[in-house]
Amino acid sequence: MDLFFEFFTTLKNTVIDVLPILSIILGFQLLVIRKPIPHIKQVGFGFIYVLIGLALFLLGLEKALFPLGKMMAEQLTAPEFIQAGEQVLTNIHWTDYKWVFIFAAAIGFSTTIAEPSLIAVALKAEEVSGGAINANSLRISVAIGVAFGIALGSYRIVVGHPIHYYIIAGYIVVVVQTFFCPKLIVPLAYDSGGVTTSTVTVPLVAALGLGLASTIPGRSPLIDGFGLIAFASLCPIIAVMAYAQLTEARTHRTNKKLEKRKRIKEEKRNLNRNNEAP
């Protein structure tokens, strides 16, 4: 019964949340395009489904995804877990939190590999590059990027460094790569940063960061809690460009090798011809 009541409160808020987009579509359709909306019944039903879905999703988020992220952070940083059986030490080294980093990387990798919008982008990239870019390898490199990003972000929360040093360093890497990267991949790489973090992953990862910042001694959620998603959107940019650079370097090398082989063959042939001539 409680759940039912909560659902209606969320649904009421959701209607307010979605109102702007409804008014924009209606406004443009009726005032600018000045045609009745095609398939109005279908669109109307679609809208009702969107409302119900959004309300259910937000409710589930609060009941499951946020608590899960925080719970994992609490359990993996609990003194009883990281110092199992030993006496409680006052000085905790960051390597004691290794399971946190492994967990962060595993969440990042697995959710990115399964991300539908990334699959679509990877296929498009393969098509455009004429097969030079392999869709699966691209997906794996983005997933490694996200895994590394979230793990690095957790490390930052554990040691308490200010976030902007990391992000600015990341920007510098992106800038340098941009100059050396095949031009075709640049917009795609920049987009991949935003694409990889899906609706389900974002809340879980945000909760993980907030949980870490509130359980690790000396950290505050306000200063240290956010920032994991920023890492997860920066690292894929670097990973995609790095992948493109590697592929380019490899094709370059094989091309060179082929040329060299050709040249040697031709030289030999010439030599033979010269020998036969006299």
Binding site: L3, D17, V18, P20, I21, F28, Q29, V32, I37, P38, G46, F47, Y49, V50, G53, L56, F57, L58, L59, G60, L61, K63, A64, L65, F66, P67, M71, L76, A106, I107, S110, T111, P116, H164, I167, Y171, V174, V186, P187, Y190, D191, G193, G194, S198, T199, V202, P203, A206, A207, L210, L222, I223, D224, G225, F226, G227, L228, I229, A230, S233
Partner: protein, 245 residues
């Protein structure tokens, strides 16, 4: 009816697939690494079921109602030729889709709770709500502006890297003057904004526009809108933080 049911099942399968890796990883850590039973497992299971169901309805509804109309509008405006209307539409599209973005709603709410417990805003439900809404509308405004810049770039054919690099410089400069408690959430807001609703509609606009204008390559010019949409929110959320403090 039968066809609709298949579409619905596809959406259901899709949202299960979204959630599956998370469940597998968490289950592995809970049982193999922590080796402990999961606390309040009942609540979590109910919540996960709600997430799957909610996401399914949400995506099903989007594909049924919002996406066709949004895509046809984006293409209609891309071909119409009136730049001022196109830019107005681009702004509204970015703004409207971001305001309704589920992960942004959730993260903004969480940020308000954290800000209240950290003493940045008053610890009342009302001030939390206004902070969360302020954050959301700031981000939405920033995304709207980003789409406008991105559309202008496609029309004029500006190279993307200079704009992005310029944006990075602004982000770095803003970081120096913004209050430290906003920096984390500001950096995060870039990645949060672009998910379920925004990406497909904005991509449709970009690719439609790039294929409607002569001499533009949908691959090079059609992409890149999302990149702007993940950059400008950082700048504007930092401004929001400065205004609030």
């Amino acid at each position: 009816m039968n066809h609709q049911f298949i579409v619905f099942l596809k959406a259901l399968l899709g949202s299960c697939k979204d959630l599956l890796p998370i469940i597998l990883v968490i289950a592995f850590f809970q049982f193999a690494v922590l080796q402990q039973p999961m606390p309040n497992v009942g609540d979590i299971l109910v919540g996960l079921a709600l997430v799957v169901l909610g996401l399914t309805f949400f995506i099903y509804g989007l594909e049924m109602g919002l996406f066709p109309i949004g895509e046809s509008m984006a293409q209609a405006f891309a071909k119409k030729g009136s730049i001022s209307w196109l830019l107005t539409f681009a702004f509204c599209l970015g703004f409207g889709t971001t305001v309704a973005e589920p992960s942004l709603i959730a993260v903004a709410k969480e940020a308000a709770v954290v800000a209240a417990s950290g003493g940045i805003i008053a610890d009342t439900l009302e001030s939390q709500l206004s902070y969360a809404n302020g954050l959301r509308f700031t981000v939405a405004f920033a995304v709207g502006l980003a789409i406008v810049i991105g559309v202008l770039r496609i029309i004029r054919g500006w190279p993307i890297q200079y704009l992005i690099l310029g944006g990075y410089v602004v982000v770095v400069l803003m970081t120096i003057i913004a209050p430290s408690w906003i920096i984390g959430i500001a950096y995060d807001s870039g990645g949060v904004t672009t998910s379920t609703i925004t990406v497909p509609l904005v991509t449709a606009l970009g690719v439609g526009l790039a294929s409607a204008i002569k001499g533009r390559n949908p691959m090079i010019d059609g992409f890149g809108l999302i990149a702007f949409a993940s950059l400008t929110p950082m700048i504007f959320v930092m401004i929001y933080g400065m205004v609030i403090s």
